[in-house]
Amino acid sequence: MSVSVMIPTALRSYADGNASIDCSGATVGEVLGSLTDQYAGLSKHLRTGEGKLRSFVNVYLGDEDIRFLDGEDTPVQDGATLTIVPSIAGGAA
């Protein structure tokens, strides 16, 4: 399956500045694996040392949060879009 992964501004410097990256995989976890295979520097920003997705990084398949689907086991369709949405704090400064 070919899936585009949308990279947020905060993480683009770990993905050669790309806003969107084409990845492959049958599940969300496989797609993210394909992403971090291409850009190893992203890995520590997405996953903890134990390999779990970090709690301040949310992943959406289409407009649904994968935490409310089957997490990383959620199957993906060809042409789907995964969006990574980390928490950002800026506002006043």
Binding site: P8, T9, A10, S13, A19, H45, R54, S55, F56, N58, Y60, D63, E64, D65, R67, F68, T83, V85, P86, S87, I88, A89, G90, G91, A92, A93
Partner: protein, 397 residues
């Protein structure tokens, strides 16, 4: 809020004239405008987000606006914090905002809280307002505002920005999700750069702040469909808005089925940030754990005047060095790349590392210490501190 038993204030003739475009607008009208006059909003922060939203709320005729901020206006704020003017640089932000609002709409009552919001004062400060708007710039205050809103049962109108990108939502409204349902925990300090480090497009907080103001007015009037249960993402560079679904997390520690957070906690500790007391660390001690020294700009100046000749490493980005650099810097290597460029950094010399404020250089100093460099010093306060205290001819940014 919108309690029909609450008597709505009357509008005088000046106000009827001022708000005429609202009064003839279906869904607002006389009753809506009186609702706005009878309502109150607390803005936490009068910075990038707080500036446009407080201006629009005041112009729209929200009767009472509370402003929480303990900062003073800095010249570098004016690129985006449009409620403040040049004449107010160096003066109180809340007083600056209050004066601007008084000029814009003298019918608005402005309450100012010139103090940091914390676990001790938050419930008391938030309690007298109908809606709370989060225009803060840091994770501890965001979690504090969220939790206080959940405990008090008040809507929390959320906005956040980074570089060219913004997020907005409405939390804790009509049984919708809260900020902790979205992000259970903050990132560790330093992993995500702040606006001061990462930069921000000046117009961006205008867009997000005005989305927040729009949501507030809708909540106060009880009209339309709010962003509750939806996260709006805005990308200024590609000019697109996207909407993601937000769900209430039944396991949320504060608004879930079995909450474990039932009172305000220590949010600095929760976010891994040193508290104000711990933050004021003595600059020349506590080097043992870290493997490098931390010296103030004054201490570094004194050592340099005494003949110290360290290898001076600037770990900012090249575009920052284009703005200003120290004349005695030996090399420029962005902090994330230091580990890959050790060959360019002499092992047989003392190393002095600096960045803009001292945060990134401390990370680089740790990398060097871990790589076996035995005499590494971090310039606390960075080139900004140097420009403010030592060489006043240098610009700050």
């Amino acid at each position: 809020m919108n309690d029909i038993t609450r008597e709505l204030p009357e509008l005088d003739n000046d106000e009827i004239n001022r708000y005429s475009r609202h009064l003839i607008l279906p869904n607002v009208g006389m009753e809506g405008q009186r609702k706005l006059k009878g309502s109150s909003v607390l803005c936490v922060g009068t910075g990038g987000l707080g500036s446009p939203l407080a201006l629009y709320l005041a112009a729209a005729g929200v009767g009472r606006i509370g402003l929480v901020d303990f900062d003073v206006v800095d010249a570098s704020n004016l690129q985006r914090q449009i409620i403040h003017g040049t004449a107010w640089v160096g003066k109180s932000k809340v007083e600056s905002a209050k004066a601007r609002i008084a000029d814009l709409n003298p019918h608005v009552q402005v309450d100012v809280y010139e103090e940091p919001l914390n676990s001790e004062n938050a419930l008391q400060i938030l309690a007298p307002y109908d809606v709370i708007v989060d225009g803060t710039d840091n994770f501890p205050t965001r979690y504090l505002v969220n939790d206080a809103c959940v405990l008090l049962g008040k809507p929390n109108v959320y906005g956040s920005i980074f570089r060219f990108e913004g997020q907005a939502s409405v939390f804790n409204h009509e049984d919708g999700p809260c900020y902790r349902c979205l992000y259970e925990e903050p990132p560790p300090p330093g992993l995500v750069p702040s606006c001061a480090e990462g930069g921000v497009l000046g117009i961006l907080p205008g867009i997000i702040g005005v989305i927040q103001a729009t949501e507030i007015v809708k909540i106060l009037l009880g009209i339309g469909t709010t962003l509750s249960g939806r996260l709006m993402l805005y990308d200024a560079l590609n000019m697109n808005f996207r909407e993601l679904k937000l769900r209430k997390n039944p396991k949320c520690v504060i608004c879930g089925d079995n909450p474990t957070v039932t009172e305000l906690i220590d949010y600095n500790q929760f976010c891994g940030v040193p508290s104000a007391d711990e933050g004021a660390r003595p600059t020349d001690v506590a080097t043992e754990d870290e493997g490098f020294a931390r010296l103030s700009v004054a201490e570094i100046k004194a050592k340099l005047d005494g003949g110290w000749q360290p290898f001076v490493l600037d770990v900012r980005k090249p575009h920052e060095a284009d703005i200003v650099k120290l004349g005695f810097a030996d090399a420029l290597i962005p902090h994330e790349e230091v580990g890959a460029h050790l060959a360019e950094i002499p092992k047989d010399r003392e190393i002095l590392v600096h960045c803009k404020m001292g945060g990134r250089s401390a990370k680089a100093a740790k990398v060097l210490a871990d790589a076996g460099y035995t005499s590494v010093t971090n310039m606390e306060g960075g080139i900004t501190g140097w420009a403010k205290e030592i060489d006043l001819s240098l610009p700050t940014y």
